[in-house]
């Protein structure tokens, strides 16, 4: 690891001001990706701005039909939350499958969503649930937020503060974990909104999270496992690496989507 300066602001305004002033500063949330990357000398930020002391970015709130989760809320907190389990149990389950116990105890929803790892779990949940990413500057619809591999709509110095989810009619998440990293080899989040519309979001399979329109259409007409049994996803553009090739990932999308629908109906 290279040397860096450490800052621990007590408020969002102070953190944003620091990041605006420091040329090569990086915000630090749970550190489960950033610290490992720095240890491998793949990242060399001049400054780390630790967001851990900012109380206004942490917590779980319910307002009407909207569930909001603070960016610094840890995966273990989401997994254990009575509010999340009651309103969006699939999201609590997703949180419980991330990494291992140590990662879940430190990693945060905001950190995961801002990093947008192509195999991370939360991007699938945020996109399928039609979540809204709230920053210190604006509100960004999930459809506009995830722009590519590790790429998001966030501008330099812009920080995710909360993520809001409309409570769906039903939702399910199924993941085939990479046996080594426990990231998603393929993960599929299926959600049916209160108005009946359906979103199917896939992580792990491609260069970034994406939706499967054909499955969404089939499920909106008939929300059942059988409705998508015949839908084949093409392997074009999917990932091939030492763990799995694109053909297997395409196959897994179908299997995980069916399991996610079954979980949503359970």
């Amino acid at each position: 690891m290279y040397g860096f300066e450490y800052h621990r602001p007590g408020s969002l305004a102070e953190a944003a001001a620091l990041l605006g002033k420091l040329g090569d500063g990086k915000p630090l949330a749970g550190g489960q990706t950033l610290i490992a990357t720095m240890k491998q000398r793949l990242a060399q930020p001049s400054d780390l701005v630790d967001l851990g002391g900012i109380a206004e970015m942490r917590g779980i709130k319910v307002e009407g039909d909207t569930l909001s989760i603070g960016a610094l809320t840890r995966h273990a907190e989401v997994a254990a939350s009575a509010e999340v389990k009651q309103r969006i149990p699939a999201l609590a389950r997703l949180g419980s499958t991330i990494g291992d116990r140590q990662v879940r105890a430190m990693g945060t929803m905001g950190g995961s969503v801002a990093n947008n790892d192509p195999a991370a779990d939360y991007p699938a949940g945020v996109l399928a649930l039609d979540g809204t990413v709230v920053t210190n500057k604006r509100r960004i619809a999930s459809a506009d937020f995830f722009t590519g591999m590790y790429e998001t709509a966030l501008q330099p110095g812009e920080l995710i503060t909360w993520i809001s989810f409309p409570v769906p009619k039903r939702a399910g998440y199924a993941k085939f974990p990479n046996p080594a990293s426990r990231f998603a080899l393929v993960g599929v989040f299926v959600s049916q909104a209160a108005n009946g519309s359906v979103r199917v979001a896939v992580t792990g399979a491609g260069p970034g999270v994406f939706r499967v329109a054909e499955m969404e259409k089939a499920l909106a007409a008939n929300f059942s496992v059988d409705a998508i049994a015949g839908v084949k996803v093409a392997s074009d553009g999917l990932n091939t690496d030492i763990h799995a090739d694109a053909t297997y990932r395409a196959h897994l999308i179908g299997v995980m989507a069916k399991r996610a629908v079954a979980a949503a109906l359970a």
Partner: protein, 85 residues
Amino acid sequence: MLSGSYADYAMPRADDVPSFKVDTQVTPCTHNPLGVKGCGEAGAIGSPPAVISAIVDALKEFGVTDVQMPATPCRVWQTIQNARA
């Protein structure tokens, strides 16, 4: 070496390992009068064939007679696809 770290290399962890029973089968060597033989890393020698044999046994209905290591989920699936083709 294809993997960059243990994030890519699937080192089994405590919660990955099923319950198992260890037993010994005495088979004296037939090539010397004492029946002795050298042996090291017994676990490393015995367990991979045991696991691969179990996978081959599980895939017997597809006519599979061999699975190459590492038996990743992808490779097991491809083996089934090839056997069906």
